[in-house]
């Protein structure tokens, strides 16, 4: 089934509008319409807890969806995920080290450390991948970076000064949007917006890459500038999202994969619907974890992994069949 990108985008926007309402009213405390005025005591829950959380869920979902769509187009691999770059684990390492050293008490320091971690990972990635603009070097550099940052994070947990710090780190790594404030929105949303804007400019070059690197170069694609745009765009999107919510995997893998058959394979046509679809997916998932009947709130990052892993497996099996 094929639909035009425009129709799909409109559908996503309509669903998002419904999702926003659902996200604001749902949770351990249900907030009916009569709570929606500033004189009602429950307004505080809406304004200070639900709304920032809703905004963050949407922007993080959009950032991860767009980053996934661009990465898949860039690497020309439908199994690529922003997590592969090592940028999300770099950001996580930054955040974890802020907890390890006990700086996380200030609202600004954890996101700042996470972004610094993402930035350093981006820089290392660009340095490791070299000047060639080669995709293979890029993917390999990303994998190496991911394993190094992953092991350093494990080291920080194992050497944590107190059991409390260790459990705080582990908890944070699982990814969640619990108790996020407007401060988190103010720090991380502009960063992710900047990242999405950078990624939005890659469409034409990604389309040309459909025909391979040599053809793309002959069609006027500047591979090095494309690589920078991808590194910076994905870095800001993933770094911002990790700073806001910890590691939330699989959004960037699943959403472009669902969207692609609907709009045709052209990479540029996948970016915007993936951003909107990512926003919708995370918005719904974050509402559902709040109303799930568990003792403590279900972790968003874990929920997404539990949705994503079987999805990944199904994709792999399908791919294996088509290769057989």
């Amino acid at each position: 089934m094929r639909v035009s990108s425009l129709k799909l985008n409109i559908l996503f926007v309509v669903l998002l509008a419904i999702g926003v309402v659902f996200s604001v009213v749902s949770g351990k405390v249900w907030l009916p319409w009569d709570a929606w005025n500033q004189t009602d005591p429950r307004w505080l829950i809406i304004a200070e807890l639900r709304l920032p959380r809703t905004v963050l869920a949407m922007v993080i979902g959009a950032a991860l969806g767009a980053a996934g769509a661009v990465m898949q187009g860039y690497l020309r691999n439908p199994l690529a995920d922003p997590g592969l770059f090592g940028i999300s684990s770099g950001a996580a390492l930054g955040a974890v080290s802020s907890m390890y050293f006990g700086y996380a008490l200030s609202a600004f320091l954890l996101p700042a450390f996470a972004l610094a971690g993402a930035g350093i990972a981006m820089l290392l990635l660009a340095l490791l991948a070299g000047r060639s603009g080669s995709l293979i070097m890029f993917a390999l550099a990303g994998m190496i970076l991911a394993s190094i940052t992953g092991s350093l994070t494990a080291l920080a947990i194992s050497l944590a000064p107190t059991p409390y710090v260790a459990s705080e780190i582990v908890n944070w790594l699982m990814g969640a949007l619990t108790d996020r404030s407007w401060d988190d929105v103010r720090i991380t949303v502009p960063i992710m917006a900047l990242g999405i804007a950078a990624l939005a400019t890659t469409g034409r070059s990604l389309d040309a890459l459909t025909l391979g690197e040599a053809a793309a170069r002959s069609m006027g694609v500047d591979e090095r500038s494309l690589q920078w745009k991808v590194v910076i765009g994905v870095g800001l999107c993933v770094g911002g999202s990790v700073a806001a919510a910890g590691i939330i995997g699989f959004v960037g893998l699943m959403v472009p994969h669902i969207v692609r058959p609907l709009v045709g394979g052209r990479p540029s046509a996948v970016i915007l619907p993936s951003a909107l679809g990512g926003a919708l997916l995370l918005l719904i998932a974050d509402s559902v974890v709040r109303i799930a009947p568990t003792v403590s709130e279900l972790r968003l990052g874990i929920t997404m992994s539990m949705l994503g892993a079987p999805f990944f497996l199904a994709m792999l099996l399908k791919l294996r069949r088509s290769l057989a």
Binding site: A208, L211, M219, G220, D222
Partner: protein, 264 residues
């Protein structure tokens, strides 16, 4: 579109080395629009490397390539992309896009940030018509045979209406009928004033369609000139190390059959 004076694509003393291995040494030659030129030579002679230097895709370690007197690497990327169409050897298509979309990718160097113009649509339709792929328009890349895919990718380059068409082994993986189709396309667009430069392995096809031939061996030009001067027993023996039979089919059509490795 017959130009009064042909445009010249010229390689001047090009040298390229991969690591310590010198792939091209001091190669100088020139090509004209309105002609079909072929690059010939054994594997590893440097044909593809020369073609990518000519297309401005690779910076030679020494020497330069000029297009109408301007260094090809000094041209703005998009300007170069509009003037030189390049058909790589690998027929890569990474996403399962439909044929219409695939061909219209050839218009990317011409497009602004707005949508398709009437000229874009017309160029795509024309390219699909002359390559006989219009009836495949709604199929997707995975539903094409090897020959269909090769024609669709040729249509992609033609949709850009380049002044030059550089193709690396455009006949690879095609059956004889489609090889003839593609060669006919090359001759037709050359007659319209496009400069066609092809890397070919088939000496008979080269003898039939080339106006100009360059015979490369171990990174040097062994001989270059009119195809019938280049495709003679001695240069072919020296370049490929083979004895071949040279004959004439109907009319002017010549053929070359490799017989055996040359000994002695």
């Amino acid at each position: 579109m017959n130009l009064p004076t042909p445009e010249i694509l010229e390689a001047r003393r090009i040298g390229v080395a991969f690591g310590g291995n010198r792939v091209l040494r001091d190669v100088s030659t020139r090509f004209e629009t309105g002609k079909v030129s072929v690059l010939l030579g054994p594997n590893g002679a440097g044909k593809s490397t020369l073609l990518s230097c000519l297309a401005g895709l690779r910076r030679p370690d020494s020497g330069s390539v000029s297009l109408a007197g301007v260094d090809v690497l000094a041209l703005a990327r998009r300007d170069r992309a509009r003037r030189i169409g390049f058909l790589p050897q690998t027929a890569e298509v990474h996403w399962d896009v439909d044929v219409g979309t695939l061909v219209s990718l050839g218009r990317l160097p011409h497009r602004g940030h707005g949508g398709e113009t009437a000229e874009d649509r017309e160029a795509v339709a024309e390219a699909m018509r002359v390559t006989d792929v219009a009836r495949l328009a709604t199929r997707t890349a995975r539903q094409l045979s090897g020959g269909e895919r090769a024609r669709v990718l040729l249509a992609r380059v033609l949709a850009g209406r380049p002044q030059w068409l550089l193709a690396d082994e455009p006949l690879a993986n095609l059956d004889p009928a489609h090889q003839l189709d593609v060669l006919e396309q090359m001759q037709r667009i050359a007659a319209e004033g496009v400069g066609v430069v092809l890397v070919l392995h088939d000496l008979s096809f080269a003898a039939r369609i080339a106006d100009f031939a360059v015979l490369l061996c171990e990174g040097r030009i062994l001989t270059a000139g009119a195809a019938h001067d280049v495709l003679r027993p001695e240069p072919v023996r020296d370049a490929f190390g083979i004895d071949a039979h040279f004959g004439t089919a109907q009319g002017p059509d010549r053929f070359v059959i490799p017989l055996r490795r040359h000994r002695g």
